[in-house]
Symmetry: C2
Subunit: 308 residues, 2 copies
């Protein structure tokens, strides 16, 4: 089934305790699309880049079954740029530089042939832009997933609440869930956030895994314990991409299948952090993905029967 | 099968964002024994208290199938006392007061009829005392589990390493694992710690669950997402108690059964944090325990078959 991804395509400069990079490929929509490509082959990407954007990256996306026709190229402007530095625990980072560039006046026009997706992933963007995309859909997609961040909760809460009320799945991290709900307990936070409209809430806890809530149920998937987290940039977006890619592949949006999608999303994210930026997400084999999913199964599955 | 628990029986005064207590029943061996009592009925406890220790607590332990004959009562001394205060995130606490009292010159003499246990749980104590207990065993128990803390890693590392080399399972928290191994990555830390002798390592991550390692495998169990963590005191010991209690009940020390034991331990610990101190661990019904274990199963189980 078709998947439409809307979000940033960017240049990132990253510093971790293991090294640093110059401008490399980044952006939420990039990570989402690459991750989704391991599960579904019908991906459309809507974004914006500047004239400085290296065309080889478009080729990489195309090789990953991503239709890049929806990426506006503004020849006289520059690509969105973010620079950040991670600390030893990899859970905290400092933003060193943010240059909005093309993003400052981005108007996400979805090409006509992309306005009828089965699945829609709204990557982290200004909430009013996410709403603009939603309003361009010819029919309500089967499933709409929205990602956002603390910044929009702080500066654009009204627009954000409007768009949240119209999506099926909201993905945010634990701190954002607390900020949005004003509840410290994630269980209480989840119930308050589900009251805002979405049927499902995914709370991402980084190295501590992810929680999936609906009003009656909760499911938890751990992150894979790794020898070394090399660079966490894009892990959350890779998770979301694997998640929605698996749903688009299996065409099943039951809670049971969302649980599976969370495991596939976690497996995809676990590759992302092994190298800088998108490097590890490019050109994975089906065997590598399957093997990683099997590692997750081994990590958490046990056999208890409570018949005494 | 018989279980011998050695560790502190104490008075605690606890302050959390939800309230505070005067002196209430506490101590590692107390939590361990109460938790284990839901799985095995043959528990011996070796510890020490002062003349100020309320005998009603001994009755509570006895009702939980705990033989308290190994608890030395020093009539002219006072019971070990700890006072602590938790912050809003419940992951950090300040120690407000520690009065060793009877613990200062504790000599753990294991009564003769308790020197041949099938399972031995060495709760957090000075490592030389843990060794003293181990040396009193007539035969090597089927399984020895040892808990310790950052303090002993810092002030008694040589004694600690000696006793660690002689146990089967070491349980510590994530910070302690990093301190003991000098590795930030828990995967690397685990491999270094397993090189010290134990066959299994359990790394407790509080609200983020627990990891079980042997040299080839890893298993992860989450903590149950709760509406409210009321008081985390004793959660780690309740976990250890449920863990070893389940093993003593099932008499199976395979990796597969250790995985199950971790789930039962996590379920038991999830009760502990719902009220102050040991309150919630006293008088649980089998139905409550089974129901909680079922919640864990629902929380993490999914069905993925990788046959494409």
């Amino acid at each position: 089934m078709s998947l439409l991804v809307v979000g940033t395509v960017a240049y990132d400069a990253i510093e971790t305790p293991f090294g640093k990079t110059d401008k490399i490929l980044g952006g939420a929509a990039t990570y989402i699309s690459l991750a989704a490509s391991y599960f579904t082959k019908n991906i459309n990407l809507v974004s914006v880049v500047g004239g400085d954007f290296d065309k080889k990256y478009l080729e990489i996306l195309k090789k990953h079954h991503v239709n890049t026709d929806g990426i506006q190229i503004k020849e006289n402007e520059k690509t969105f740029f973010w620079a950040g530095k991670y600390h030893i625990d990899m859970n905290t980072r400092d933003t060193l530089d943010t240059q909005l560039n093309v993003l400052a006046d981005f108007n996400p026009i979805v090409p006509d042939n992309m306005r009828n997706p089965d699945f829609l992933m709204l990557g982290n963007l200004m909430p009013s832009l996410q709403m603009k995309v939603l309003n361009q859909m010819k029919e309500r997609p089967k499933l709409v997933v929205l990602d956002t961040m603390n910044f929009w909760i702080e500066v654009a809460i009204e627009d954000l609440l409007k768009v949240i009320s119209r999506v099926d799945v909201l993905t945010i991290n634990d701190e954002e869930a607390r900020l949005l709900s004003n509840e410290y307990s994630l269980v209480k936070a989840a119930q308050k956030i589900l009251d805002l409209g979405p049927k499902y809430l995914i709370i991402k806890k980084g190295e501590h895994g992810a929680l999936l809530f609906n009003k009656e149920q909760v499911f938890f998937a751990p992150a894979l314990p790794l020898e070394e987290v090399f660079d966490p940039t894009g892990a959350g977006d890779s998770f979301a991409g694997g998640f929605i890619g698996y749903l688009a592949q299996t065409k099943d949006i039951s809670f049971e299948n969302l649980k599976r999608a969370i495991i596939f999303g976690s497996a995809t994210a676990s590759f992302c952090v092994e190298k800088f930026g998108t490097e590890r997400l490019i050109g994975l084999s089906q065997e590598e993905v399957d093997e990683r999913v099997q590692e997750f199964i081994n990590l958490v599955q046990f056999d208890i029967s409570l018949v005494d």
